[in-house]
């Protein structure tokens, strides 16, 4: 007789409110804390993008109350082009670090990795708590820049020195604001590193009996690869951040060359290299793209299989592709630097490897389509967003094939074509995966169902909206519209203004559609239909334990795994799915 459960010691939850919900070591609470931190951050980030879009489409429009945000940045409620740069810097930093890096990995990963591999908690619960609170402090430090006299920094999320390394002589915002930015990012790196160690240890050491690596859901594989990528890349960004801080405050010259004359002053720095920062930054920055998107790939694979009622097409190929993307992701950073002054010969190497990374990406796309092919699709909101992810990933990924070629990048670099590319492939796609994950796992996280009708309206609005916003950016990019400039003082860009207005209106409307999601999220938490144990008829272990999930996840008895993660519609099986811990023996399974 097959083993059903393995007995372990049962743990009770702590009694006090603070230890239970604030400084909690419970991975489920921490997962939700990360999720809500990201939600808070994305609302701010989206609000900033609205303001930026208003300025781009309607430069002289008076936005009521804007001068309260910054009297100098928006005198008479009209945004200055300078303040635009501050908002852009904050938008990018908030979205990339505190949303895209935080929710898919630390949010969903924290909540569901232990549940899906059959563990009681993460390997290092206290470290986990520390990771979250360090990240929280990092966000607060970043947001503090809105409240200081000179306002937020203006040097973009990439913070290229010398602009970022020489202090307020380079302009207001480059003083205290930029210092706080560096401190915030360094803190964020610490949180991300601690979290990465935890994810790796948990995945390798705490899998329950029978959960061998090749039986893990692809979500767990994606979180594992992301954690390894994070461990190797955030360490480098942390080091770079410390050096940048030293250049700013300690009088060193890691990134600041000699004989700079800025605002009429000859600076005392000597011997630094601005390109060194770019190498260090992009050595982190490119893997960061995969940190944002790999968990989304895992979630998408998982959800497509569940609602296609079919095994994932090419599970092994999917695992290898995740690994290949993770490894190749470290070898392509120079493609951000084709026109930086780096040797043109190295562009050759970076470019070929970048094209090579298109191959595992294409494998994934092919296998997602293969998973749907011949399936029996249940078009839930979660499924729709997973399909939307594939669509966005394809569209955003393909424009990368232009930018990966140095001679084409020498034109497109610095235009809206790049903005379109990364927003679709790592922004919208990753956010679609977060939506998919939310609709899918909400019943487990909150014990109730989200409203499906609102969910579908939300999907259609977001899907169409995302294309209306970002497709036109390709066209204006090809036409040569430069990014990071807000006021089209030159005649060249004037003819493109109507498209900017179109994009602005689409962005406002698509943003408004997100209010439906927010309403659905909070309304369903309290008023949604009570969720059944396994509402989607899914196979992985999180659906085997009651909701709300017990403090120690499986009530002191860990499940034992007998099946792969995606056994749907196995011929001869009793139902159209076999739970991973089911003891049912089906002949066709081994053959399939």
């Amino acid at each position: 007789m097959a083993e059903l459960e393995a007995a372990v010691h049962h743990h009770e939850a702590p009694k006090g409110f603070i230890r239970r919900y604030v400084f909690s070591t419970d991975h489920k609470v921490i997962g939700k804390q990360y999720y809500f931190l990201a939600l808070f951050a994305v609302v701010i980030g989206m609000f900033l993008s609205w303001l930026m879009r208003m300025h781009l489409g309607y430069p002289n429009y008076k936005i009521p109350g804007l001068d309260l945000m910054s009297p100098t940045g928006a005198p008479g409620n009209v945004m200055t082009p300078e303040y635009y740069l501050s908002l852009m810097t904050m938008h990018g930093t908030i979205m990339i670090f505190f949303v895209l890096t935080t929710a898919p990995q630390s949010g969903f990963g924290n909540f569901f990795l232990p549940l899906q591999i059959g563990a009681e908690d993460m390997a290092f619960p206290r470290l986990n708590m520390l990771s979250f609170w360090v990240t929280f402090v990092a966000l607060m430090v970043l947001l503090a820049t809105f409240f200081i006299a000179d306002g937020p920094p203006i040097s973009g999320w990439t913070a290229y020195p010398p602009l970022s390394s020489i202090g307020s002589v380079a302009g207001p915002g480059e003083g205290l604001g930029q210092t706080l930015w560096v401190v915030s990012i360094a803190l964020f790196c610490v949180g991300a590193l601690l979290s990465a160690i935890n994810f790796i240890a948990t995945t390798l050491d705490l899998r329950t009996r029978g959960m061998n690596l090749m039986r893990m859901p692809l979500t767990c594989w994606a979180w594992l690869v992301t954690a390894i990528v994070g461990l190797l890349s955030f360490a480098v960004l942390f080091a770079a951040g410390v050096l940048l801080l030293l250049d700013r405050l300690g009088g060193t010259s890691f990134f600041t060359p000699a004989q700079l004359k800025v605002s009429g002053v000859v600076l005392q720095h000597a011997g630094g290299s601005p390109l060194l920062w770019q190498h260090l930054f992009w050595f982190f920055g490119h893997p960061e793209v995969y940190i944002a998107i790999l968990p989304g790939m895992g979630i998408t694979s998982h959800i497509l299989s569940t609602f296609s009622r079919k095994p994932v097409f090419g599970y092994r190929a999917m695992v290898y592709a995740l690994g290949a993307i993770g490894i190749l992701g470290f070898m392509v950073w120079g493609h951000h630097m084709f026109v930086s002054g780096m040797s043109p010969y190295s562009a050759f190497y970076f470019s070929i490897l970048t094209m090579a990374i298109g191959v595992p990406s294409a494998i994934k796309t092919f296998n997602w389509l293969g998973t749907m092919w011949g399936g029996k699709l249940r078009l839930t909101s979660a499924m729709l967003f997973a399909i939307g992810f594939v669509s966005m990933f394809v569209t955003g990924g393909l424009s990368g094939l232009f930018l990966a070629q140095p001679p084409l990048d020498a034109y497109l670099h610095g235009t809206y074509f790049v903005v379109a590319h990364f927003h679709m492939v790592m922004g919208v796609a990753a956010i679609f995966a977060m939506f998919a994950g939310t609709y899918f796992w909400f019943p487990k996280m909150f014990g109730r169902m989200m409203d499906e009708t609102l969910g579908k309206i939300h999907f259609v609005g977001s899907f169409v909206g995302a294309y209306l916003i970002f497709m036109p950016m390709h066209y204006i990019g090809i036409a040569g519209n430069v990014r990071r400039q807000s006021e089209f003082i030159d005649n060249f860009m004037q003819p493109l203004l109507p498209i900017h207005r179109f994009i602005t209106i689409a962005a406002l409307a698509t943003g408004a559609v997100q209010l439906i999601f927010l309403f659905n999220l909070f309304w369903s938490m309290f008023k949604g239909k009570k969720a059944e144990l396994n509402p989607w008829e899914a196979t992985s272990l999180e659906w085997t334990t009651p909701t709300p999930v017990p403090y120690d996840n499986f009530n002191g008895r860990l499940p034992v795994v007998h099946h792969g993660p995606y056994e749907y519609n196995v011929p001869g099986a009793a139902k159209d799915y076999i739970m991973q811990n089911s003891t049912e023996v089906v002949a066709a399974e081994a053959a399939g």
Binding site: A317, A347, I363, Q405, Y411
Partner: protein, 267 residues
């Protein structure tokens, strides 16, 4: 629902492709000698990516409609994949993507591996927050760029590059705020920055290059059409980044010589 979604996906795909195809918002006119090669590589990439785009999106749309659960007795196909298909797909992707990339290398090599020809006109480009300066060795093409001194740099007194004006070589140098170049003659630019990273981008030349303090970066091009074209900074360089621009005047050789002499006389 499934049909409506399939139609939406298909419509987005078709409209996107049509808008790429009609060239209403498109590359500005080309004035670079190697612009045709750029265009070919651009269009080849457009064709390959367009093919993948249409195939993937339409498959998605078709599967959405074709395989929707209609509540009938049909069972989903039980398969864990197909290794042969995986191998074919991977090889096709690798050959297409990497092959396409290799085809573009002649263009990159001509622009960046090979230096400017000996007869090229050399001009220094100096960038600072938030303007460009252009330095010519002399009105007649002889002479050389004299040493500059950061402590002498002063925009207000008309010596933005910090030249020692008692030095005869410096007296011959011509500094302008417009980049004048002769048509159909190769030009080599030496890019330098006084403060932070800037960039040199002329859309019509399909040419963009960062200007990094502490480095002198050479680039070269040949403009083939007389006219005035915008030079724009694409690297975020501070508060006034949005207004950092200059113009490039492409002139016939006699017009260029006249222009440069006039600039020399005015300074």
């Amino acid at each position: 629902m499934a049909l409506a979604l399939a139609i939406i996906v298909a419509l987005i795909t078709i409209v996107s492709v049509v808008l790429f195809h009609v060239h209403h918002w498109w590359l500005p006119e080309n004035i670079a000698r190697n612009g045709a090669a750029f265009h070919n590589q651009f269009m080849l990439t457009m064709a390959v990516t367009g093919l993948f785009f249409v195939a993937a999106q339409l498959s998605l749309a078709y599967f959405l409609w074709r395989y929707k659960d209609r509540g009938d007795a049909r069972k989903a196909r039980y398969t864990h994949g197909n290794n042969t298909l995986e191998k074919i797909w991977t090889s096709v992707g690798a050959v297409l993507f990497i092959g396409m990339n290799l085809l573009g290398y002649r263009l990159w090599a001509q622009a960046r591996f090979v230096g400017a020809s000996p007869g090229a006109l050399r001009i220094e480009v100096w960038a600072e927050q938030f303007q460009y300066w252009f330095r010519y060795a002399s009105p007649d093409g002889s002479g050389h760029f004299c040493e500059t001194n950061v402590h002498l740099m002063d925009d207000a007194t008309g010596n933005p590059l910090g030249m020692n004006l008692s030095n005869p070589a410096c007296q011959k140098n011509v500094v302008t705020d417009t980049l004048g170049v002769p048509v159909n003659r190769q030009v080599e630019l030496l890019l330098r920055s006084k403060d932070v990273i800037h960039s040199f981008f002329v859309r019509e030349l399909r040419l963009q290059q960062d200007i990094v303090p502490g480095m002198v970066i050479p680039i070269h091009f040949t403009a083939t059409k007389v006219g005035t074209y915008e030079i724009v900074c694409t690297q975020l360089c501070g508060l006034g980044h949005y207004k950092m621009r200059a113009f490039m005047k492409v002139m016939t050789e006699p017009d260029f010589e006249k222009w440069l002499k006039q600039q020399a006389a005015e300074q």
